[in-house]
């Protein structure tokens, strides 16, 4: 059953009608549009042609919600993505039978698209033009907008593939509209049109010290790398990062900020982390997580008589704040979990975490105990954000199902 939205630019559809269905456009879209041309009667003719456009979404009963995730940690394989797709059920895998170097991940409910696929310049092109991948000039935002919009409207698209091994743009792959579309990469919120398509957006804000520590872990085993080269790479990319990527955080519904711990003086190993979950107030279908008493300021150390923690322990903070002129609520965790009972204890004191049963957060964390961040705030907050998105999805579906056919006047 197709769901159709009728846009009319005239008062009513008149008797003389003709309709046609255009075939594939040159951009590889599978569009199905039905256009009615009506001839107006004796009344004063309008300067504009009177036409109505009926757009039918192929999906019918299913609607696609779009989540944007800004992260500088590669595409679709990040821990956050794996946790997110696990919350919705199933594991996200690369599409079978297609390009083996595809960046896309697909599960039963979710499709994760890597925004690098919208590079307008391949590696050679960027070198020739002197631009990094962070630069908007290396990316085709028109195509990004058109395709994300099409998928959201229930239309499958042929999306390009950027091959990270060869540095070339490979032939496109077909993306069918899923229930949940996640667009992950450097610029999900850069273009205003794309931003407006997002039902929810997250920015992963890693501080420089932590970024350095993580990249050391990633690269030190490589023969080509040294501490100096890792540092040089981060510093050389910083100006473009600060100019083009960082400003997106003001638009995000939620920012996960990862900082070095304050529990260990002069710690520079980046293993114990202080993580802040900055949640915008007033976002539709999103109620921020809180500790004890919503809107108040709380400082909480769960370790004590009821709970024994090992060094350096766990410390929580919660309170209202302002972030880029927005009202926000901030939940912060410093330290790490060493045992299961610490995790469940903390979970039982958090509110608005949108779990379906007691212990769901703990269960999800245990399921992926081997993922990085499973013992600290990054894993905890990524899991909670996953549950909040599930909640948002269910609320949106319930709202949309209440009004399947709308007639709007242009």
């Amino acid at each position: 059953m197709a769901v159709c939205t009728i846009h009319t630019s005239t008062q009513s559809l008149n008797s003389r009608c003709s309709l046609y269905t255009p075939t594939k456009t040159h951009l590889g879209f599978n569009q199905r549009q039905v256009v009615f041309y009506s001839k107006r009667g004796s009344s004063s003719s309008s300067k504009r042609g009177s036409s109505s456009v009926i757009t039918c979404s192929a999906g019918g009963d299913s609607q696609t919600i779009v989540i944007g995730l800004a992260a500088d940690s590669g595409c679709g394989k990040s821990t956050f993505m794996r946790r997110l797709t696990s919350v919705f059920g199933g594991a996200a895998e690369p599409p079978k039978g297609g390009n083996p170097d595809s960046n896309t991940l697909i599960s039963d409910t979710t499709t994760v698209i890597c925004l690098d696929d919208y590079h307008s310049l391949d590696r050679t092109g960027r070198k020739v033009n002197g631009v990094t991948a962070l630069d908007p000039r290396a990316n085709n935002f028109d195509l990004m907008y058109e395709q994300v919009k099409a998928i959201k409207d229930g239309v499958a698209v042929d999306k390009p593939i950027y091959n990270h091994v060869t540095g070339l743009l490979d032939p496109p792959e077909l993306i069918k509209p899923p229930k949940i579309l996640v667009i992950e990469g450097l610029h999900p919120m850069y273009d205003e049109r794309v931003r407006d398509l997002l039902d929810f957006s997250i920015y992963l804000d890693i501080s420089n010290e932590v970024k350095f520590a993580w990249k050391i872990q990633r690269d030190m085993a490589e023969r080509g790398h040294s501490l100096e080269s890792i540092k040089a790479s981060i510093e050389a990319r910083k100006p473009d990062f600060d100019a083009y990527i960082d400003p997106q955080k003001q638009y995000a519904d939620t920012v996960i900020e990862v900082l070095p711990t304050q529990l260990i003086p002069d710690d520079n190993e980046g293993k114990v982390l202080r993580v802040k979950l900055i949640m915008k107030e007033g976002v539709k279908h999103f109620s921020p997580v809180y500790l004890f008493d919503e809107g108040s300021t709380i400082s909480w150390i769960p370790c004590g008589r009821k709970l024994t923690c090992s060094y350096p322990g766990i410390k929580f903070a919660y309170g209202p704040d302002t972030y880029f002129d927005h009202e926000v609520s901030v939940l912060e965790m410093d330290g790490q979990f060493d045992r299961l009972d610490e995790l469940i204890y903390v979970e039982s004191h958090l509110s608005n975490i949108s779990t379906k049963f007691y212990g769901e957060v703990t269960q999800q964390m245990l399921k992926h105990a081997d993922f990085p961040g499973s013992n600290n705030g990054t894993g905890l907050f990524q899991t909670i954000v996953g549950l909040k998105i599930r909640d948002l999805f269910e609320q949106l579906i319930a709202t949309k199902q209440a009004a399947p056919v709308e007639a709007t006047k242009a």
Binding site: A221, E222, R237, D240
Partner: protein, 102 residues
């Protein structure tokens, strides 16, 4: 008769900074990708060190970042399964899908 080795990892604790659990490439195509990325990292790091005049510098280091991340992603995937597994089921005759033996 087959010998079976079972490893119990009691100490799933803090990993050493530079030691990572890695899988081994099953198909030639994956081995070639791994080798290519390793060589590219070395090559691009040395290029970047030489070419450091304004815009060229940041592009060179951005390339280093790109291939470093690509290799890390490949190794992560390899821990579970050779990334070419499904492709090679459908295309066993291609060069990429020769079984790789060290």
């Amino acid at each position: 008769m087959r010998a079976t080795v079972t490893v119990h990892n009691h100490n799933q604790e803090r990993r050493n900074l530079t030691v990572k659990a890695t899988g081994v490439a099953k198909f030639k195509g994956t081995y070639m990708r791994e080798k290519q990325l390793t060589e590219m990292i070395q090559q691009k790091v040395s290029e970047a060190k030489q070419v450091c005049t304004s815009d060229e510098c940041k592009v060179a280091w951005d390339e280093v970042e790109e291939v470093s991340q690509a290799k890390a992603d490949l190794m992560l995937k390899l821990q579970k399964q050779d990334p070419l597994e499904f492709f090679c089921q459908d295309n066993p005759e291609t060069d990429e899908c020769c079984i790789y033996e060290d």
